[in-house]
């Protein structure tokens, strides 16, 4: 008898179940026990015990069970649980009862809002703690590459594994399977695949060209992945570069595209690759900073035809309304089908609609926040799109561009006035160091700073950060 509301059950005795956990009696309903999912231990218990008048005995700690029972009843974790038990204890116990997915959804942070986020923790690998690269997954887990090692942190940011790669320094990392990382280094050749759970090297790909003896020891500069392929940009010591598509299951090269000599800023190796599932294209960008300012390109390739779908070169993309203000960094907002770039000189944010790319698709977002008027774009800038918001790191400052909600009657198409800029961080946060890397994973934002150990974790919270004064 499954019934969502136990109080309206036609025969109240039916569906009730008694449990004896470590000597303490609990009474609950079958439907509550079953809410943990069909694979759980509690689900199995609920099936057999209905006819049995004696309580089911489970030889576990009763106090921690009462927390998990509250979780099943209310689908939220009691607030006192986090102070009484460590995340690890709760996760282990939830794993035993098979209700880990409930715990996961109750413990995961609320939707990330850049306008209201704070640093909740800093993840510091135990040794060589200066991250060289990191990648985050949709469940909020994080893999950090640091000093040739890869440290893995699960959805609750608990440390699960650290493996050692053969690289001295991993400069690009991509999670291609739940347990497989694709890694590359700017100091050593080849794209390599590591199995995190076993800590083993499981495969590698190199750029070889029998017709051209100069192609050897090509290094990987950027990695991206789609549902079934991995894309990696390779660069030879003599700057010639190309992008390879590698099949995820066989780890064999499928195609090569975008080969270029690398002799100038317009044909440098792509330092950032992103797969755009909606347009079936790979977007790559390269930026170099020289005595005359920034220069670089943004290019979209169709990997099937190996052709460039769209490109822009800065400076020099003739019709740009902002000559001399080339981009410092760019990122693609996959959910919103948009490209964003940050201008190197003015610090403005440019937005291009992926569905309407043309000669000059950029719309420059205006900034109306009084408190941010005086921030110029000089210095290093990093940009990252996540959860429909654009996060920008300028030197040590972290800011967010977020869309303003319109009323039901206010739908007038998309205009630039709908984005508003705000600081995510506080002034003292900015003093920790220049922001080098920003990644979004689930409802978390991960920030890595130059010459700073560890990765900052930013989350939103529904609870007031009230400091009691006693």
């Amino acid at each position: 008898m499954e019934n969502g509301d136990p109080n309206n059950a036609p025969s109240p005795a039916h569906g009730r179940i008694k449990l004896n956990v470590g000597g303490k009696l609990f009474e609950t309903t079958v439907s509550t026990l079953q809410s943990g999912g069909p694979d759980s231990l509690l689900f199995a218990l609920s099936n057999r015990a209905v006819a049995d008048p004696n309580p089911v005995f489970i030889d576990r700690d009763p106090d921690i069970f009462s927390v998990l029972l509250s979780l099943l009843r209310t689908s939220r974790l009691p607030s006192t649980a986090s102070s009484r038990y460590s995340k690890q204890e709760l996760a282990d116990e939830a794993l035993y009862y098979g209700v880990e997915s409930c715990l996961r959804s109750a413990m995961s942070p609320p939707p990330l809002a850049g306008i209201d986020a704070s640093v909740v923790s800093t993840i510091r690998p135990a040794s060589d703690g200066f991250p060289s690269s990191f990648t985050a997954a949709g469940d909020g887990s994080l893999w950090i590459a640091h000093g040739g090692q890869i440290s893995c942190y699960d959805w609750s940011l608990a440390h699960t594994a650290t493996i050692r790669t053969h690289f001295e320094e991993v400069t690009s990392i991509c999670r291609v399977w739940p347990e497989i990382a694709a890694v590359g280094s700017e100091a050593a050749p080849g794209l390599h695949f590591y199995d995190i759970s076993g800590g083993r090297h499981v495969g590698s790909t190199h750029w070889t060209d029998p017709s051209d003896p100069r192609i050897y020891k090509a290094r990987v500069m950027a990695i991206a992945d789609s549902a079934d392929s991995v894309f990696a940009s390779f660069e030879c010591p003599h700057k010639e570069n190309s992008i390879f598509e590698i099949d995820k299951s066989t780890l064999q090269t499928v195609s090569e595209f975008g080969r270029q000599p690398g002799s100038s800023a317009k044909n440098m190796v792509a330092g950032k690759l992103t797969w755009l599932p909606e347009s079936n294209a790979v977007v790559g960008s390269a930026v170099s900073c020289g005595a005359f300012g920034y220069s670089g390109y943004i290019r979209l390739w169709d990997p099937r035809s190996s052709e460039v779908v769209w490109e822009t070169n800065e400076p020099g993309s003739g019709r740009s309304s902002r000559f001399g203000d080339s981009f410092a960094d760019m990122d693609a907002d996959i959910e919103g089908s948009k490209l964003f770039k940050i201008c190197s000189k003015s610090g403005d944010l440019g937005m291009a609609d992926l569905r309407k790319l043309g000669d000059d698709p950029w719309v420059y977002l205006t900034d109306k926040n009084y408190s941010m008027r005086n921030t110029s774009g000089s210095g290093s800038s990093v940009i990252r799109c996540h959860r429909g918001q654009v996060f920008v790191g300028r030197e040590g400052n972290l800011e967010v561009w977020s869309r303003v909600e319109e009323g039901e009657n206010g739908v007038e198409g998309e205009n630039d006035a709908m984005y508003r800029r705000n600081y995510v961080d506080k002034l003292e946060d900015a003093e920790r160091g220049t922001i080098r890397m920003i990644e979004g994973g689930g409802d978390r934002l991960f920030v890595g700073r130059e010459q700073v150990e560890g990765i900052e974790v930013w989350e939103s919270s529904n609870f007031a950060a009230a400091i009691p004064i006693s």
Partner: protein, 474 residues
């Protein structure tokens, strides 16, 4: 607990009947099994929870199921809520629970109003017992510019273009982004809806705090067809008052809206500037409803070459006419408020920095300000009262001066006039105290004060809101 469960049959005797089951006298007692633990209470207690709650549903349900009422929830939290229902107060053992758990559990049973009442009751506000109890931090870098508190205890804080709302327990918060670059006036209409306006961005927006959606955007159709900005917002409960100024700054008015439907009701206090007479049309920058006399107090000031000038008017909304008006020339107010219980308007003078009052009961032709201070400060020529805030709450008036808050209260003096003059007391007697302990005094300059059932204070260049609570509560 087994020990409790064994005592279940005992109340069946209390009816004086030898029959153990389903006698009419004992049916008043309800036994509930919550998560394996037995609780007994009466139907009356459960019915207190209100008709929509789960608990009153239990009391009224089919008598044949009396023995089997089972709720699949945590028994310990239920025991706290049952005590709350019985006594109206939280038992002291509730302190071992987190308030957030109690709130979500009380929402499940439908008795949240009891929890609100016992923890966040406006009557718990005791002006003489205020202590700084906590600090509410804000994320980002924008300083709080405006705060709005509701009697239930919830608080809305504007920082930059964002509004962060704290619920009555000050435990939960949510933040929305608005279209305004900055917000200068904010008012809670209902716990989920606020009205917001800015002095440099047109229109009054009614915002939903859940998602930040704009429910309505209200504007004043002035003669020049230019957009109008909001200078102040006020409410009487039924009506929403908004002081608009045209963006060319040559005309202003107070629009009266129906607070439910948001339809315009009437337009009062319409002024236009003709020529150079700027002082003829100073927009109202503070609107307060005076419930005792059913009038709207509107005040506005203007800083000209000859110093500050301003006016305070009391408007009869129905007739649309100003019932009473005072023009301020010498020692114009820096801020004005009224106290309904004290039946007086209070101001803090911008030159002297002194608090003065005017009795509402004897407002007439020659009524004038009665200064509460020594009257010495006015000579110095400095703007002593600049930036001072004054707010009335309950029977007291709070006036911020720098980093301190003065509390003015009336002393009820008995005796004949001759006795009083012997004691040196004439007219009404007001005395002041400074709020807080010595360690809380001073500090950065106070930029805003708000009162719900607590006092909320923001300070210059400090990115948080101070909460001052009366110690008697809890």
């Amino acid at each position: 607990m087994p020990s409790l469960a064994s005592s279940v049959p005992a109340p069946a005797m209390s009816g004086g009947s030898t029959r153990f089951q389903r006698s009419k006298t004992e049916s008043n007692i309800v036994t509930i099994d919550v998560g394996g633990q037995m609780f007994q209470t009466t139907k009356q207690t459960l019915a207190l929870a209100g008709p929509d709650s789960l608990l009153s549903e239990l009391a009224g349900s089919d008598p044949s199921q009396l023995a089997h009422r089972f709720i699949d929830r945590d028994p310990e939290l239920f025991s706290v809520l049952l005590s709350l229902l019985r006594t109206g107060n939280l038992p002291s053992k509730a302190k071992s629970f987190d308030l957030r758990d109690l709130i979500s559990e009380s929402e499940f049973y439908g008795v949240e109003s009891f929890l609100v009442n016992s923890l966040s009751n406006p009557s718990q506000f005791d002006a003489f017992n205020l202590e700084k109890s906590r600090i509410l931090e804000l994320n980002g870098r924008d300083l709080p510019s405006t705060i709005a508190a509701a009697p239930s205890g919830s608080l809305h804080v504007v920082h930059g273009s964002k509004i962060t709302s704290f619920d009555w327990s000050l435990r939960k918060k949510s933040t929305i982004l608005t279209q305004f670059p900055a917000i200068d006036s904010l008012l809670e209409i209902s716990p989920r809806i606020v009205a917001a306006g800015a002095t440099d961005f047109p229109g009054l927006q009614i915002l939903e705090l859940q998602k930040g959606a704009v429910r309505a955007s209200l504007n004043w159709e002035n003669a020049t067809k230019s957009a109008s900005t909001v200078q102040a917002i006020g409410s009487s409960g039924d009506h929403l008052f908004t002081s608009f100024e045209s963006s060319r700054r040559n005309s202003n008015c107070i629009m009266v809206y129906d607070q439910q439907s948001l339809r315009p009701v009437t337009e009062i206090a319409h002024f236009e500037i003709y020529g150079a007479e700027i002082e003829s049309a100073v927009p109202a920058t503070k609107l307060r409803w005076v419930p005792g006399v059913n009038l709207l107090m509107a005040s506005g000031s203007h800083r000209g070459p000859l110093g500050m000038t301003g006016n305070i008017r009391l408007w009869d909304v129905r007739s649309g006419s100003a019932v009473w008006e005072v023009k301020e020339r010498a020692d114009c107010f820096s801020d004005v408020t009224f106290s309904d219980r004290l039946s007086a308007i209070f101001k803090v003078g911008v030159d002297s920095g002194e608090v003065s009052y005017m009795d509402l009961r004897s407002l007439g032709t020659e009524s004038s300000w009665v200064c509460l201070g020594e009257g010495k400060r006015s000579a110095s020529g400095k703007k002593e009262g600049l930036g001072c805030r004054i707010e009335g709450h309950g029977s007291q008036v709070f006036c911020s001066r720098g980093g301190d808050i003065e509390l003015w209260s009336e002393v009820a003096v008995m005796g004949s006039s001759s006795d009083r003059s012997e004691n040196g007391l004439q007219g009404r007697v007001f005395r002041k105290n400074l709020v807080g302990r010595a360690k809380d005094m001073g500090g950065a300059k106070i930029t805003s004060l708000a009162f719900g059932n607590k006092m909320f204070v923001t300070r210059k260049d400090l990115q948080f809101v101070e909460v001052w609570e009366s110690t008697v509560s809890r």
